[in-house]
Structure formats: structure tokens, C-alpha cells
């Protein structure tokens, strides 16, 4: 019985086991270290805040929005490049009261449907392929009339490794 030969065969298997363990460790560490730092939720909330401060500063309605010529991106200090050229952001504003109703949407309109799923469905974990959505409701007054402002924001920015 060649016991020495048997031991040499075992060491080959042991090297194979080590190689598999090593690959597993490398794969696991790269997967963990390469993960994105998730800030989309914060970014969505900041964007919603900015829109609300623009449309209803201190609870008083920015009356310009009631007109037909109101450009949300320009008037609220947002970037045209971002909202017209990149598909990573979306803002939807609905203003209404008993006698008035207006809706403005800028950016990637496909996110509106995505946000209905993200905000209304009972998701155990937010799937990364959906944008981060944030909704905010405010009330503002103008000429003794109260208006309800609903702001829906979606952010799907990924960032870029250069």
C-alpha cells in the first residue's frame, strides 16, 4: 500500500480547497468593498425641500407658479442640464384647491410609476433598480386662498468611477 502516494494526492485536494476558500474570500471582500454608499434617500429629501422652499417660502405661495409660463427648473434654481439631459431625476408638483388644479413634471417621467410602487407597496427591502422616492405635502396661502402643494421627487443617480 503506497501510503506516501496517498498523502501526496491528499495535498493536491487540500490545495484545491485552499484555492476555493481564497477565491471565496476575495469575491466576498470585493463585493463588500465595491458597494455603493447609498445617499439617494437624503438627496431626494434635499430636492423636495428645495422645491417646497421655492414654491411656498414661509407658507406663502409663490404666485408665479399659478401662471402658465412658470418654469420650475429655472425659477427654483435647478440645473437644466440635470433635468433635461440626464435621466436620473424627476420632480412632480401638484397644486390644488377647490377651484384650481395644476400639475408640473420635469425630468425622467418614467419614475412617476416607479415611485407609486416604491411608496405604496409594502416592500421588505428597497430594490436598487428603483429610484429613491420622497413625497412631501405642504399648504400655502395666496390672496386669502389656501393651496395644497404635493411634491414628489425621484432620484436614481449612480455616480461614476472615472
Amino acid at each position: 500500500m503506497n501510503k506516501g502516494g496517498g498523502e501526496h494526492l491528499l495535498s493536491i485536494w487540500w490545495l484545491l480547497v485552499l484555492a476555493l476558500v481564497g477565491l471565496g474570500i476575495v469575491f466576498g471582500v470585493l463585493l463588500f468593498a465595491g458597494r455603493d454608499i447609498y445617499v439617494k434617500d437624503i438627496e431626494a429629501e434635499l430636492l423636495a425641500d428645495k422645491i417646497v422652499r421655492c414654491l411656498a417660502p414661509q407658507g406663502k405661495m409663490n404666485f408665479l407658479i399659478l401662471g402658465d409660463e412658470f418654469n420650475l427648473v429655472n425659477k427654483c434654481g435647478l440645473s437644466n442640464k440635470i433635468f433635461k439631459e440626464s435621466n436620473e431625476f424627476y420632480v412632480n408638483v401638484k397644486i390644488k384647491n377647490e377651484s384650481f388644479s395644476k400639475e408640473i413634471g420635469v425630468g425622467n417621467t418614467a419614475f412617476k410609476a416607479d415611485c407609486e410602487i416604491v411608496l405604496n407597496a409594502e416592500l421588505r427591502k428597497k430594490p436598487e433598480q428603483y429610484p429613491a422616492c420622497f413625497e412631501r405635502k405642504e399648504f400655502a396661502y395666496y390672496k386669502e386662498k389656501n393651496y395644497e402643494i404635493n411634491v414628489l421627487v425621484a432620484v436614481a443617480q449612480q455616480g461614476a468611477v472615472k
Partner: protein, 133 residues
């Protein structure tokens, strides 16, 4: 018989040493990857972009980038670290080959008043007036 025992002992010792070397290499790789330059570039770029998004015109803010500068020094990179390009993007670069960009959604010009260095490891960034787009 003694020769066989000696050979067996030697083989076992070599086997144990190789195992130790293997696990030390794996541990070193894990530690190096977890504190990598890429993660810091991403963190700083996002931090600056979010500060710009939440700020107002003429605001100036300071960011401590001490850890990033240390990594940059180890990577022997001593050029400009923070860039604000025409695509509304903040790019942070801590070594020659890397870099991470993250966009901000406001329409303001961004001025990098001070790049972080070893002696002054903080960046000073000012939110300027609106751009003509």
C-alpha cells in the same frame, strides 16, 4: 524509520507555514480593500455634492479630508484633488488612475477656494451664483 519521521515532520511544518502565509495574505487583502482609496473618493464626492445641494448662494463650507490626503500621499499623488466640471459634477481624485464623480442638482457655480494638502487637510468650497445654462 527516523528519516521517515523527520521527513514527515518537515512536510507538516512546511504545510502549516504555507497555510499561515495563505491566511495572512487573505487577511492583508481584506484589510487593504476595506480601507481603499475608491471608497474615500466616493464618500467625499457624495458629501460635497450633498452639501452643495443643501446650501445656498454665497455659502462657504470646509471639509476635513485628512484621511484622504494620507491615502493620496501613500499613492504618491500630489495634484489637484477636487474638481467641479461643466456637467454639474463634483469629482474627487486621490490617486493617478482613480476618481469618482457625483452630480449636484442645483444651478450654481462651484468655486474650490482651497484644495486639501498635507499641511492643510481640508477643502474650502464656495457656492457661487447661478450659471448660464
Amino acid at each position: 524509520m527516523n528519516n521517515k519521521a523527520n521527513t514527515y515532520l518537515l512536510e507538516t511544518i512546511i504545510f502549516i507555514i504555507l497555510n499561515i502565509v495563505f491566511f495572512v495574505v487573505m487577511l492583508g487583502f481584506a484589510i487593504k480593500s476595506s480601507g481603499g482609496i475608491g471608497q474615500y473618493e466616493q464618500a467625499y464626492a457624495k458629501q460635497i455634492a450633498l452639501l452643495v445641494d443643501s446650501g445656498k448662494e454665497n455659502m462657504t463650507f470646509w471639509i476635513d479630508m485628512g484621511k484622504g490626503i494620507e491615502l493620496s500621499k501613500k499613492a504618491k499623488y500630489d495634484k489637484q484633488i477636487i474638481f467641479a466640471n461643466d456637467f454639474n459634477e463634483i469629482v474627487v481624485k486621490l490617486d493617478e488612475k482613480g476618481g469618482y464623480g457625483y452630480k449636484y442638482f442645483t444651478n450654481n457655480k462651484i468655486e474650490i477656494l482651497q484644495q486639501p494638502t498635507l499641511s492643510k487637510p481640508y477643502a474650502v468650497i464656495k457656492i457661487g451664483g447661478e450659471k448660464n445654462e
